[in-house]
Amino acid sequence: MHTSSISLFIKLTAPILLFISLVYLVLGVSFWYSEKKNNRRDARLLGETIVGNLAQLIQLHGLNDHEWLKPYLVSIGSGPSILDVYVCNDEGTVVAGARLSYEEESCSGNFEGQAHDADITTRVSQGGSVLRVMQPIRSINLQQYPVGAVVIEVDLKDKFPVTLWENQRLLLLIMLSLISLGTVIYFFMHFAIVRKLQTLQAAAIQIARGDFFTQVPSLGSDEFDTLADTFNYMTKTLGETVISRNYFLSVIRSVGDILFVLDPAGQVTMVNPAALRTLGYEEEHVSRCHIRDLLADPSDKYFPAVNNDVVTYPDFVGEELELMAEGDERIPVIFSRTTIMNENHEPMGYVCVAQDLRQRKRAEIKIREMNEHLQQVNRTLQETQAQLVQSAKLASLGEMATGITHELNQPLLIITLNAQMASKLLEQDQGAEVAESLSAIIEQVNRASKIINHLKIFGRKSESASMEAADINQIIKDSYLLFTEQFRLLGIQVQCELAADLPLFACNRIQVEQVLTNLLANARDALVESAEKVITVQTRQEGENLIVEIADTGKGITSDIRDQIFDPFFTTKEIGKGTGLGLAISYGIMEQHKGSLEYESEPGKGTIFRMKFPVTKDA
């Protein structure tokens, strides 16, 4: 780049220097020639003037007496550039002159017949050129006959070098100006041409290195810019041709799935690295293969072996096949084949893409295993849930046990004491009073029997109990049996507002009783610290629904736990008193009955739980 720049410099500067030299030469020569010509003219004019005047003077005075001439001639001869001046007679003999002596032939030359015109000759002497002007002197009477001649010799070179030197200074000035101009032109050219050329050269080097995205920036608004545009266009076109090939090769090489390009006969012509990696073959091996050789099942229907080399296999997408990898490993793949068509819609070959399914298969196995595990967990969960239901039932039974203790202890005590009393009365023969004791015993036995009968029903497995038509009011009364004594002792007043003539409804009696037991127990617990202790149990029919409301005047449910009260294991009761399952199980039971369990609560004032059962006509 640097070398070419110097070369360009020389190329640009040499003609300029040559031109300057030429101009200098031409000017020098023309100056010299012009000076020489001027000198000659001046010398001639000087000579002619002097000799003309002298000739007239001599014509007037005559040549016979010529002594007066000498001082004139000496005076003229001492003038600048004048080499000599003298007068000769008609015989050519010098009669007077500036010098002391003359040769006889000094006035050589024939001046006869030249009565008027001066004879001008130039001769070269030792010092240089000499101009000799000879003016004939006319006879005053016979003018056509010259009586003599005046001759003057002027040195032509005397004046010339001075003027030439002066002219040379001028030339030097001109030359310096030209050199300056040349320098300016060089720098201008350097910036206007060389720089731009360097930019273009740099771009060209980039392209040579394979960078087809190089673009030459704008180079101003001259021809170089047009050149840059052309250059860019060329780069782009070149890039499109060269890059596209490399680019598409790179694309094919970068495809993550297995890719084969086949010729129309099914012979592999190209294979991508992913295929080699997956199958574990060398490229040379695969390149010699027919696609059939790479299939695990060579008789595969997709590439039937045929004798005719040119066969058009139909395109297909997403078929599950197996490829044969190095070491006879079968690799499951999703295989697609597409025909490559040329411009004339003739098959040029096929592109086969295959996606390795091994990872997916492994994932499927894992998912299946996880699924099985999940099912196992689910079964465990269901078992746990069943256990929870049982626990909840036991919790309800625990609740009842408290009631039973209360309810049965009293009648048993009364029975015991009355039986003993009867026995004592009989001993004392007070038969009439025995009857009183016996009736008390019967009354208490009946009371206890009721509770025990109720427990028998409750003891049945609720799961096995089928849905039966039941009277909701009766179920409430039965559930209440176990709470009678507790409510009495706790001072809880119970108001029953049970609507008469309610339709029977289909239910699992035990489960419904379980819900009622839970709700009554919750109401009881909510009232422990309340001043007003009232539980209102109400039944009514609303359209197609049976409604049971159990309202208490307890502390109510605070808003922060409202979303949680139906959650399993959520309880506000002391540890050991509540399982946290009562409402959760109750909710589930109501859902099983296609009914609902909801509540309204006002903290400090009480809570209403509402059970809603659908009444079906066939119930």
Binding site: T405, H406, Q410, L417, M421, K424, S437, R488, L490
Partner: protein
């Protein structure tokens, strides 16, 4: 002995009164704690024994004992309980409770109890 029986269950109260009278004691009965306290304050000569149920509405047997003690009365008390063990334990710890009758009990248990109390009084 002058005995005060307190129970909210009329059948129990009736049979207890009948038996204790039968075996020769002067018996007064009250259906709740307030009634019992009233009779306690008006009784002359004072009661020798108080038999009370634990679980009663309004005032429990244990609350009643507390009230009696706060009046400065130091009469032996027998409590009747048919419920949890912790309730019996609580009753036994009350001052002046000489025995706990666990429901259901018999007249033999009452006889034993009266023997015990008569010994205490001597």
């Amino acid at each position: 002995m002058n005995i005060l029986c307190i129970d909210d269950e009329p059948q129990i109260l009736r049979i207890l009164t009948k038996y204790l009278t039968m075996v020769g004691h002067a018996v007064k009965s009250a259906s709740d704690g307030e009634d019992g306290l009233r009779q306690l304050s008006s009784q002359q000569p004072p009661f020798d024994l108080i038999i009370t149920d634990v679980r009663m509405p309004a005032m429990t047997g244990l609350e009643l004992i507390g009230r009696i003690r706060s009046l400065g009365v130091d009469i032996p008390v027998v409590v009747m309980s048919g419920h949890q063990d912790d309730e019996i334990d609580k009753a036994e710890k009350e001052s002046g409770v000489v025995a706990v009758l666990e429901k259901p009990f018999s007249f033999d248990d009452i006889d034993e109890l009266l023997t015990l109390v008569s010994r205490l009084n001597i």
